[in-house]
Amino acid sequence: MTDAAAALSPMEAAQQPKGLTRAFAYAALLAMSFVMLYPLLWMISSSFKPENEIFSTGSLIPETFTADAYRRGWNGLSVSFGWMFLNSAVISVLAVVGNLMSCSMAAYAFTRLQFKGRKFWFALMLGTMMLPQHAVLIPQYLMFLNFGWVNTILPLVVPKFLAIDAFFIFLMVQFFRGIPRELDEAALMDGAGPLRIFFRIILPLSMPVLATAAVFSFIWTWDDFFAPLIYLNDIEKYTAQLGLRTFVDATAQSDWGALLAMSTLTVLPIFVLFVMFQRLLIEGVATTGMKR
């Protein structure tokens, strides 16, 4: 996967807008970028302002710089935000592990193994990608309630080990198809079994798609609000998202500084991943139409 944007063909170069058009395009894009980023920058800068300064000025640079809002927010609920970040991290990491394992196994079966009913199951897999979660939500909840899993992380994590996010299977199927079959056939001749081929050939060659799936999987789980909302009841079990939403109620918006500080912190891990894997994420969206 190379970035087509980097190099311009001679024709494209010749078609580049000149003079005024060019200046206008840049002005429009810069203005647009500013409008897009302003709320985020405001959130970050306000989190470092003293409370009385937040609404008195729209300036992005704090006159008095203080991290006090972070201290107030961090301990603003009966359970520290640190604990809830840890909960979020555990759930998100387990989701990544589960998705990578179960989805790569399924994708391997669909692309490399011969077995009866393969096409049927593949079609069914594509079908499940279309089915909105709402159709299965309530029976899933009742089932987990029966298992005694409500108010534990199990309903949030176990489904990932059962390849519930069929989208990632689809993503990996696309990638595995591009790996030359000669490689596994040669290994087969050497007496390697399916397990060995999977671990020694397919997975090592699939790092790009595994990384894409891992990053998206982490971000989506980190950001998820609905599943933790219905499955986690005790505040000690809350994820950062749930904590933040509880904090909105608790402060009744009287402490905007602390609220914005904690908001900034919950977005921070995603922002770090975005900076680190920006190209991977954008290519993932461009090639598969991944949303969000």
Partner: protein, 307 residues
């Protein structure tokens, strides 16, 4: 979409048996999930949708009663439909227009494309989180950023957009439009597929830039527009978090942000009407399926597929 063709040689029998075993072995986590988490629950929720069930007693069969009540005697369902359709019909076209316009601008070979692309994509990546919904509450609050700007520029004292039932939904539309970036990236990828010699030929024939856009770019991009429109529509019907956070889970003021999924959530998890909520879920599935089918049926009139 077909899976790979069979290999050229025929493996010996023992190997083929091993193949079956290996195939189902590798597929087993997904298969268990398929039955336990998707097919089983789907059948079960269809059944529940025809019952009255609240955890207190076992489900009581009521036939089509839930569906009849949804269709004829549920003002909150109508409110939810109203809100959701307003949201879908406004946010999807606006998002498409922004995404396409910016993609076309970025595709002109300007320097800094990667920077702009990243900046415009960032809101899509984080826009669904609680933090952004919290931020949005502030942006449109009575003393929020929007009103500060209105005051500074037009000396106009804006209302509290979030607390006003006439405007609350539009703040959520704005939040959705702010996240046009991922569609923009897909448009950019589509624009790169258009051969440059088409524009070259059109330029030589003296076609203006506007004409080139409407005669070349737009028609060749219709498959991508179609794809984006379908995905965005499905996503918009399923929106939940922003409405929940902005209204404290109530869908207020006066049900003006009662998204369909929020109503469904309230029925299931605050009122514990699991039967009725299941029926609501299937109505949502039917609406989404209907919209998707309509899009595919309309495609042959406007989506350009030959080349």
């Amino acid at each position: 979409m077909s899976v790979n063709e069979a290999p050229l040689y025929r493996a010996p029998l023992w190997l083929r048996f091993k193949g079956q075993l290996a195939g189902y072995g590798f597929l087993s986590p997904w298969l268990i999930g398929l039955f336990a988490l998707t097919l089983g629950p789907a059948v079960s929720s269809l059944y529940l949708s025809m019952t009255d069930y609240s955890l207190m007693s076992s489900p009581r069969w009521v036939g089509a009663d839930n569906y009849v009540r949804i269709a004829s005697d549920d003002p909150r369902f109508r409110a939810a439909m109203n809100v959701t359709f307003t949201y879908v019909l406004l946010s999807v076209p606006l998002k498409l227009i922004f995404a396409l316009a910016i993609a076309v601008l970025l595709n002109k070979g300007l320097k800094g494309l990667n920077w702009f692309r990243a900046i415009f994509y960032l809101p899509s990546l984080i826009g669904g989180s609680v933090a952004i919904a919290v931020l949005w509450r502030q942006v449109f609050a009575s003393d929020g950023i929007i009103n500060q700007v209105l005051m500074a520029v037009f000396n106009y004292e804006g209302p509290s957009w979030i607390a006003n039932p006439n405007t609350a939904i539009y703040t959520l539309v704005a939040l959705a439009v702010w996240q046009f970036g991922s569609s923009m990236i897909i448009f950019l990828a589509g624009l790169r597929q258009i051969p440059t010699d088409m524009y070259e030929a059109a330029s030589i024939d003296g076609a203006s830039r506007a004409r080139q856009f409407f005669k070349i770019t737009l028609p060749l991009l219709t498959p991508v527009i179609f794809f984006n429109a379908v995905i965005l529509t499905i996503d918009a019907f399923k929106a939940f978090t922003p409405a929940f956070v902005i209204s404290d889970g109530s869908g207020g003021p006066i049900d003006s942000t009662l998204f369909y999924t929020l109503y469904l959530y309230q029925e299931a998890f605050t009122n514990f009407r699991f039967g009725y909520a299941s029926a609501l879920a299937w109505v949502l599935v039917a609406i989404i399926a209907g919209f998707t089918a309509l899009a595919f049926l309309s495609a042959k009139y406007w989506v350009h597929y030959d080349d």
